[in-house]
Symmetry: C2
C-alpha cells in the first residue's frame, strides 16, 4: 500500500505524466550527484518544469526522493515476480530466481545503489514504506527456501530462513554496491560465484 504524495493538480493523468518526468530526471541527477547535492532547481529544469510547477506535483524535495524509491522498487518487484512462474523443484526455482535477481541488479546498478545510499534521507513514514517494500523482495526468497525445505532439496533449519533469505538479497545487491571491488572480473562470472555460494550455504542438492 504505497503512500500518497499530495499534489495541487486536479487531473490525475497529468499528475502521472509529470511525475514520470520528475522521476526520470531525478534518477539521473541523484545517481550522478546524490540527493543532497542536487537542488530543486536542477530537478525542475531537468524535468522540463519551472521551480513553481515542480511544487504543484510534490510538497517537498523528500517527496521526490520517495517517488524515485517507489518507482525503482516497483520495477524490481515486477521484474522479479515475472521470474517465479517456472516449474521444477524448489532448488531449481531458487537457482533460477537467484540468477534472474542478479541480472536484474546488474541492469539496475545505479538505481539499487541509489536506494542504498539515499533512502536514509527519507522522512520516517516514507522510510518505513520503502523498507517494507524491500522486505517483500526478501519474502520471495523466504518462500522459495521454505518450499525447498518441504521437498528436501535444500537443508537448513527453519529458524535460519529469514536470515538466509536476507543473505540472498544482499549477496545479489553486492553486485551493485561492491562493483568497484572486482572491476577486473566479468560480471557474469561474479554472479555465478554468488549463486553457487548461496546455494552451497543452504546445502542445496542440485548442483
Amino acid at each position: 500500500m504505497p503512500l500518497d504524495v499530495s499534489t495541487q493538480v486536479k487531473d490525475p493523468e497529468r499528475v502521472r505524466l509529470r511525475r514520470e518526468q520528475i522521476v526520470q530526471a531525478s534518477v539521473r541527477l541523484f545517481t550522478e550527484k546524490g540527493f543532497h547535492k542536487t537542488t530543486t532547481r536542477e530537478i525542475a529544469k531537468a524535468s522540463g518544469l519551472s521551480n513553481g510547477a515542480l511544487y504543484e506535483y510534490v510538497q517537498s524535495k523528500e517527496d521526490v526522493l520517495y517517488l524515485v524509491c517507489r518507482h525503482i522498487h516497483r520495477e524490481v518487484r515486477n521484474r522479479l515476480a515475472s521470474t517465479l512462474t517456472e516449474p521444477g523443484s524448489a532448488a531449481k526455482r531458487l537457482r533460477h530466481a537467484l540468477c534472474r535477481f542478479g541480472e536484474l541488479v546488474l541492469s539496475m546498478q545505479d538505481e539499487i545503489l541509489l536506494i542504498y545510499q539515499e533512502s536514509k534521507s527519507l522522512p520516517r513514514l516514507y522510510l518505513h514504506e520503502v523498507l517494507s517494500e524491500e522486505q517483500q523482495v526478501v519474502a520471495v526468497f523466504e518462500q522459495l527456501l521454505r518450499e525447498g525445505l518441504a521437498d528436501q532439496s535444500i537443508l537448513v533449519e527453519e529458524k535460519d530462513i529469514p536470515v538466509l533469505a536476507e543473505n540472498a538479497v544482499v549477496m545479489g545487491q553486492m553486485l551493485a554496491f561492491r562493483r568497484w571491488a572486482w572491476k577486473q572480473k566479468s560480471t557474469e562470472s561474479v554472479l555465478n560465484t554468488q549463486v553457487n555460494a548461496f546455494l552451497a550455504s543452504v546445502h542445496s542438492t542440485t548442483d
Copy 2:
C-alpha cells in the same frame, strides 16, 4: 598510508588531543543525524571548541568526516588483527576470525553503519583511501581462504576467493546495516547463522 589532514596548529600533541575530541563528538552527531544534517557549529560545540577553533584543526567539514572514517577503520583493523594469532587449521582460524569479526561489527554497529551511509560524501581522494582500508579487511579473509585451500580444509576455486572474501565481510556487516530486519532474534543467533552459512558456502570441513 593515511592521508594528512592539514592544520594551523604547531604542537602535534595538541592536534592529536583536539582531533580526538572532534572525532568522538562527530561520531555521535553523525550517527544521530547524519553527516549532511550536522552543522559545523554543532560539531564545534560538541567538541568543546569554538567555530573558529574547529577550523584550526581541520580545513573543511569533509576533513572531519575523513577523520571519523579513518578512526573507525583503524579500530576495526586493530581489533581484527588481534584475532589472527590463533593456532590450528585454516578452517578453524577462519571460523574464529568470522566470529570475532561478527562480534566486532555488533559492538560497533553505529560506526559501521556510519561508514556505509556517509563515506560517499567524501572527496575523491579521501574516498579512495577509505575504500582501500576496507580492502585491507577483505584481504584478511582472502588470506585465510587461501590458507584453507592450501591445507584442503576448504574447497573452492582460487578465482572465486576475492568475491568470497568480500562476502565474508559483507555478511558480517549485515549484522549492522540490516539489524532492523530481525529485531526479534538474538544477535548471537544471527551471528551463528551467518558464520555457518559462510563456512558452508566455501565447503569448509570442520563442522
